[in-house]
Symmetry: C2
């Protein structure tokens, strides 16, 4: 077990109808809220009306920031910041997926900084006096409702970067699984793959003696395997949606990292460039990159972890040769993803790369300032290009 | 999955040397601390000196409340409250097991109530403006370092009761597994049985669809089975102590309850009377009552859960007949406890009951005001007496 520190100050309310608490909770912070959401889907499922009624009932006025897109834009953050200042907003309430919640968190961090929001993304020490966030997710995926991270894209520079500070933990997470039932099969598959990846990025590491976190992660991954399949086939299955939603929150809030070697993610930095350059759906890119990353780094040194994953999560029986079990684990995971409807590769996913030369700059950005991904297996630029190629 | 709310505001620092942070953290709350501990063991292991040095280095003065005993006394809480008022204490730092931490939490709740502390135990709404607590456990057992509960005994009335309010969550938990290495084999066994019981009290319930919490609990229980044995045989095994300590914190802070039917413990209320009437070591009583409780309630309705426990936690293979697997699970758990050195029954544990008539009043107190234990299987007074008899 590695040393660590851990806290999640977010208070979660979970179950049918918890969005009705929004007004009462918002009232603790003031009388003016900013609602952040994407398109009309939050109105179709009734969430918008529920929240607006609850705000009115509790004497909280609101303004709105809408049209939040996947891979959330820094321009929207700037727009939200301006709105918060103009309207003297005291609490931010995102309704939606990770993009809405991340946008809300970033706005909360930038409201009291007198300059472009991207400055704060580049230097989080500029954030101060964060506005509180009450997160209401409508998709089980990012777990952004209970973590301190916000991923933000800069359209001008094709950068997708993380702003991660403790002050960004939402004050409250209102988790109603029934609002996730209308999520399409494609987004359900993508979201579940994303949950799994957050866990696998930590699970696949060499940390001696981290028995408890490994077993906890297997518990979460088994939940994804079981209920990802059920939710894809039977979207209104509350049990499946509930188990996935709670797994999403705890797979990504730092809990599974406790005792493991610190955050050394590999797949996410590689995938984020697909979001930044091609606007690929994050979870789809994650699923495709995960499989090719596993194949690429499979060797005598890594095979044990993949074989253990195969046995403890996917229920494979141990083969005499660990390498065979490990390969079977990767194949089985790929088949699972495809059974959910995830495309076979990036081309099938609709990315038409006429000029593959983008892989070069993407790989460079994936490596970041360190010039290297120090994950389960260290990766250099050519490794990352090879993984893009394999996923294409 | 049942509806729930959940938050654990405690910030945990985990690893070798984290007790050195005590002074810096205490300084956030003021310049006068109350140290709460039992006997000289915290001095022998060096913890006392580490904390005192850290306090001095950070300009924090301290007073002491010592001789805290297992099954902590309300008289000690009153004494601590008086000391806090007299010395204008601003933060309480328990060093020790659950008794010390529970005493500290209860003092923190009672300092601003002008009357006997037992009043607050009986009516928690009397607690106000809690003093912050920085918990430094030296035993993996109660998980009191990250929960909101304090068990307090009233010697005058033989009552052992729970004071449970959100304000009692410690502000910080400083978790250094190396301080738990000097725990005796007997206390290691008792502590690990207690951790397991906190989890099993929740695990054994009929909650449809609580897949994730059930798998998470199995992960924790497997950790106890593996490392309880190792820590009993090899007390200085850091890996074992680390895994047990973190499991203790998360097995009892409400996390495993999320999605399961609310807290309906059976074994703890029955055992608490052994503490109140015979001062039995809590974890020893827990182990003995757990086994007899499982045997007593085993029937066609409960056998599935016990069989699942046997397979998923103890690694038993499924027998054709579920009842046989369930019985084997109970026998295997009993053998495990005995392999750790836990006595076979209460007599062997040193309780000389010349007058068994105490079982009557004990059973009544175990049932509490409801007159019934509404656990996995509802129990009435005669049921509880029968379980005492079986454990004797």
């Amino acid at each position: 077990m590695q040393d660590f520190s851990f806290s999640v100050p977010t208070k979660a309310f979970f179950g049918k109808g918890v969005a009705e608490k929004a007004g009462e909770l918002a009232r603790q912070f003031g009388t003016k809220a900013l609602l952040v959401y994407g398109k009309s889907s939050v109105k179709k499922i009734g969430l918008y009306d529920t929240v607006v009624k609850s705000l009115k009932d509790n004497g909280v006025e609101y303004v709105e920031l809408t049209d939040i897109q996947p891979n959330p834009r820094i321009t929207k953050v700037d727009e939200g910041v301006a709105l918060c200042r103009k309207e003297n907003v005291q609490v931010i309430i995102p309704l939606g997926g990770g993009s809405c919640i991340d946008t809300a968190k970033a706005i909360g961090s930038c409201v009291h900084y007198d300059g472009p929001a991207w400055d704060v993304v580049l230097d989080s020490s500029l954030a101060k006096d964060n506005l509180p966030v009450i997160a209401i997710p409508t998709l089980a995926a990012t777990g952004s409702d209970m973590d301190s991270d916000a991923m933000i894209c800069n359209e001008a520079t094709n950068d997708k970067m993380s702003l991660n500070i403790p002050a960004q933990f939402p004050a409250y997470a209102l988790l109603d699984p029934s609002y996730t039932c209308s999520v399409s099969r494609r987004q359900t598959a993508a979201g579940t793959a994303d949950i799994m990846s957050h866990i696998m990025e930590v699970y696949f590491s060499k940390t001696p003696g981290a028995f408890l976190p490994d077993r906890l992660m297997e518990a979460m991954l088994k939940t994804c395997v079981k209920y990802g399949t059920i939710a894809c086939e039977d979207p209104n299955n509350y049990e499946a949606r509930a188990n996935l939603l709670w797994t999403a929150s705890w797979g990504c809030n730092g809990f599974v990292d406790c005792g493991k070697i610190g955050r050394r993610w590999s797949v996410h930095p590689i995938e984020h460039q697909l979001g930044a350059y091609y606007d690929e759906t994050h979870g789809i890119g994650i699923a495709l990159i995960t499989i090719q990353w596993m194949r690429y780094i499979l060797n005598d040194d890594t095979k044990d972890m993949f074989a253990t994953f195969g046995q403890n999560v996917l229920g494979l029986s141990a083969e005499g040769d660990t390498m065979i079990t490990a390969k079977k684990a990767i194949d089985t995971l790929e088949e699972l993803f495809q059974s959910w409807g995830i495309p076979k590769n990036l081309r099938e996913s609709g990315i038409n790369i006429t000029d593959k030369s983008k892989f070069d700059i993407m790989a460079e950005k994936a490596l970041g300032p360190a010039g290297r991904i120090n994950g389960f297996v260290p990766l250099d630029k050519q490794d990352v290009i090879n993984i893009y190629d394999a996923a294409f």
